[in-house]
């Protein structure tokens, strides 16, 4: 903790967030400080540009951070809000872990076996450009529950990225390592275990980090479209549904609360992932 406080990186980050919040607050309150006569020409100018005359375009319509905070505090006490966190995390983790479990071996197989590549890659490449969200109607129909449909869509978001990264990573391992291992008498299995696998690990970590970002994008959209998954109304259907529900209910502050919650959730998960990544590839930081 003491180390963190004396770290300039920490302070730069803190200052940047504070400045951002202050600018946001000022912008949001433009209705108030733009009231005096003094601003009339400026308001006329905004009107001429096609904007509303009494506040700054866009930012003036957004609830101020102070207002957001004010509406956040009671929300913190609601079980539904935390249920939303839990639901979204559950879906992200479910889809993401499934994508790792299936995607990493699949990518390695494509990289190692010529035949597997020739057979598997064309299908993969045709399916890959289909955005995960285009799968929403189909998966709602074909999966037994909405929950499994959402997890499936989340899975797709991470799967393609992980496979492409694993494949590329394994392919780009320098041929010298294979030659060295081969000439020292290593078997194919040993080369796989001690050369290909560790050689691909950095790409697996990168692919997972990118995939994790995509899962959060996808889960929120999937929750919005599928109406929160579970039938219960209110705020029990994940953070995406929380936002949608706030929008429908006209609580604009809560929209922002939901957005920031997702930002925090995404940050926490990529931070966890980065930590795990550093742990499994100790040779990369050791430079």
């Amino acid at each position: 903790m003491k180390k963190m406080l004396s770290n300039p990186v920490f302070w730069r980050g803190a200052v940047s967030i504070v400045v951002f919040l202050i600018l946001w607050e000022i912008g949001s309150r433009s209705k108030q400080w733009m009231a005096p006569e003094f601003f009339t020409p400026f308001k006329e100018f905004l009107g001429a540009m096609g904007f509303k005359k009494d506040y700054l375009p866009w930012i003036g319509a957004v609830p101020a951070p102070s207002a957001v905070l004010k509406s956040w505090i009671p929300v913190l006490g609601q079980a539904g809000y935390w249920q939303s966190w839990y639901m979204s995390f559950f879906r992200v983790m479910g889809g993401f872990i499934a994508a790792m479990i299936i995607g990493i071996p699949f990518g390695l197989m494509l990289a190692v076996s010529r035949v597997a590549h020739d057979v598997g890659f064309p299908v993969f490449e045709v399916l890959r450009p289909i955005p995960p969200l285009a799968w929403v109607p189909a998966s709602i129909i074909f999966w037994p529950t909405q929950e499994s449909a959402i997890i499936f869509i989340t899975f797709l978001g991470a799967f393609y990225t992980i496979v492409i990264n694993v494949l590329g990573g394994a392919r780009s391992i320098d041929v010298r390592y294979f030659q060295a291992a081969q000439s020292m008498g290593a078997s194919r299995w040993d080369i796989f275990r001690r050369v290909i696998l560790p050689g691909t690990l950095p790409s697996i970590v990168v692919g997972s980090a990118v995939g994790m970002g995509i899962t959060w994008e996808v889960v929120v959209a999937a929750e919005m479209i599928s109406g929160g998954g579970s039938q219960q109304a209110g705020t029990g259907g994940g953070l995406g549904f929380f936002i949608w529900n706030s929008y429908v209910g006209g609580s604009y502050e809560q929209i922002v609360v939901g957005m920031i919650s997702i930002g925090v959730a995404g940050f926490v998960s990529s931070e966890l992932l980065r930590w795990g990544g550093r742990y499994v590839t100790p040779w990369l930081k050791a430079r």
């Binding site: 010298r176 030659q179 000439s183 020292m184 560790p198 050689g199 100790p282 040779w283 050791a286």
Partner: protein, 290 residues
Amino acid sequence: MSEAAMARPAIVPGEISVQGVSKSYGAIHFRKEVVHDCSFTIERAKLTVMVGPSGCGKSTLIRLLAGFEHPTEGSVTLDGTPITGPDRDRLVLFQETALFPWMTTWDNILYGPRARGEQTKHTVEFGEFLLAKVGLQDFRDKYPGQLSGGMQRRAELARAMINNPKVMILDEPFRGLDAMTKELMWEYYARLYEENRRTNFFVTTDIDEAVFLADRMLVMSNIPTQVRAVIEVDLPRPRRLSDLVESDRANDIKKHALSILHAEAMRSFSRGSKAAADFVEAYLKRASRA
């Protein structure tokens, strides 16, 4: 005899014979012959150094000796047996380091025995011995990325030697190191060789390196690669760099080899080789210094 020395396996030096080997690349109409009718022997328990201008096909020869590629014509044999593929009998140290970046120095050195499932108390002891021999005891748990260029080369030497190959093949292993490190590496390597007298094949473009290390020197011609001359380097061992600087015999050998290389470079220069132009320039600089 110390305990570490007992851990060392017996050295069985091999002899490689290259007979009428040609190697060409490319499809029929665009064939380029890199090696043409090349014959030489890498004699048993000797350090054979191959010198030639860069880009003269030496690396192709190395790949043939290692078994990564096969000759278009002719034969490469180790103790009479044709070479069909890579094997621990013939270990290669490449120009660039091929240490596994994800393994510590120690794990890298023990890679061969572990990969073959042959790790025993003796191989571990031999590993310790080699680690000390290349002066990396303090770096056993470091990753290659944390080692200097010279240390990496030494770790790689140890990684190859633990497999007790019949022939060690080194493809310009000290290229790219700074002059001081390079000389240090020469002494390390010469000492290792003098202690075990394994069959060594060392490829270089550096004539000083060649004369300091070699028992026999093969002077190569440009593409297609052929042996232009064989020079026996009868300098006493163990060799030290300081002795060599003052040795007239060493200078004579150096001049002799250079004159052959020069003639060779002039020949390919007249055919418009860029590498040869560089060499002639370097040679003239050198002649004016001598």
